[in-house]
Assembly symmetry: C3
Homo-oligomer: 134 residues x 3
């Protein structure tokens, strides 16, 4: 049961933000193998003065299209997280067409026991989410 926070500047269309959501969602399904319905996302639209970043971070120009993505999910191996980052960037470059340089991502890893949703339970043997039996 992941939770995703996205922050970007005001001025984009709902379609643009949906493409970001879809790209993140697809990367999570492809790389993390999360189920299609296991998707919770919150997007914050910010005035320029409330979203601050250096326009030349690491010597690479960053534009006002910058998007910050914060994933929260159960722990994964480093190589899997790296693949998720690259797959997400690939998807957002393809649609809605964000420059790779304008994406920043980070991950919070939570214990499976630190999530709660009605009808969700944690398999005591595998630690994975499963549907509570009726």
């Amino acid at each position: 049961m992941p939770l995703i926070n996205v922050w970007l500047r005001k001025g984009t269309t709902p379609e643009y933000r949906k493409a970001i959501s879809d790209g993140i969602h697809k990367a999570m399904m492809d790389v993390l193998k999360t189920p299609e319905d296991d998707y919770f996302q919150v997007t914050g639209e910010l005035d320029a003065e409330n979203m601050i970043f250096d326009p030349n971070y690491f010597g690479v120009p960053r534009s006002e299209k910058m998007v910050f993505i914060r994933f929260s999910f159960n722990a994964r191996p480093a190589a899997v997280k790296q693949r998720l980052f690259e797959a997400t960037a690939d998807n957002l470059v393809a649609s809605p067409g964000i420059r790779r340089e304008d994406i920043g991502m980070s991950i919070l890893e939570l214990a499976p026991e630190n999530w709660w949703a009605y009808a969700r339970t944690v398999d005591p043997d595998t630690g994975t989410d499963s549907r509570m039996s009726a």
Copy 2:
């Protein structure tokens, strides 16, 4: 010194959101034994397009009343966290009357040393918060 983030869709009354706050606060006092004055909460009200979730997660219908709650506090045993989740859900079902299916919760656990507020100190023996002596 916990910090709580709540996200829900725009269109609720201040009284509705206060009932959510009060329900979370009461659950924390009852289960975590946090002091009454130790309560910091931020609520984000979102356009529908900026709060995304599957309307049928785990085969259970989820409505537009969905609320995401993220707790941040010092580490607790799994059983205590589970009781907090259930107590919070109980309270929000009672008031403002949210369906249990429309609640999603998660917890970030921080080291006591990772919090700062004026006049707060961490007891070096117990790791618990205490009022700095004058």
Copy 3:
């Protein structure tokens, strides 16, 4: 590659919020030795009813100028985090002139592998960020 979240009530000027940003940024450079361009911040401006705190936490009056700051960065020793808290508070007291009592801070520590930005890589020997060689 840190990420900072700031929350405060609506009604401040852009200059006031910039002073907060600058004060946090300077504290991070001074104490954590983060590079000047390594700075990503998101500020949330909230209606009073959506930013909740006890006006008398720990017996100390807290005003409507309260600001919550959440740092996210790679792990640091406790003493360094403590110095960061104090340096940040010092800076915000100096400008924009926030009462020390009206500042609340917390830190999320992430593994270096949990961050991604184009052109950033993690040095396999030291675990620190570095510019990807061309």
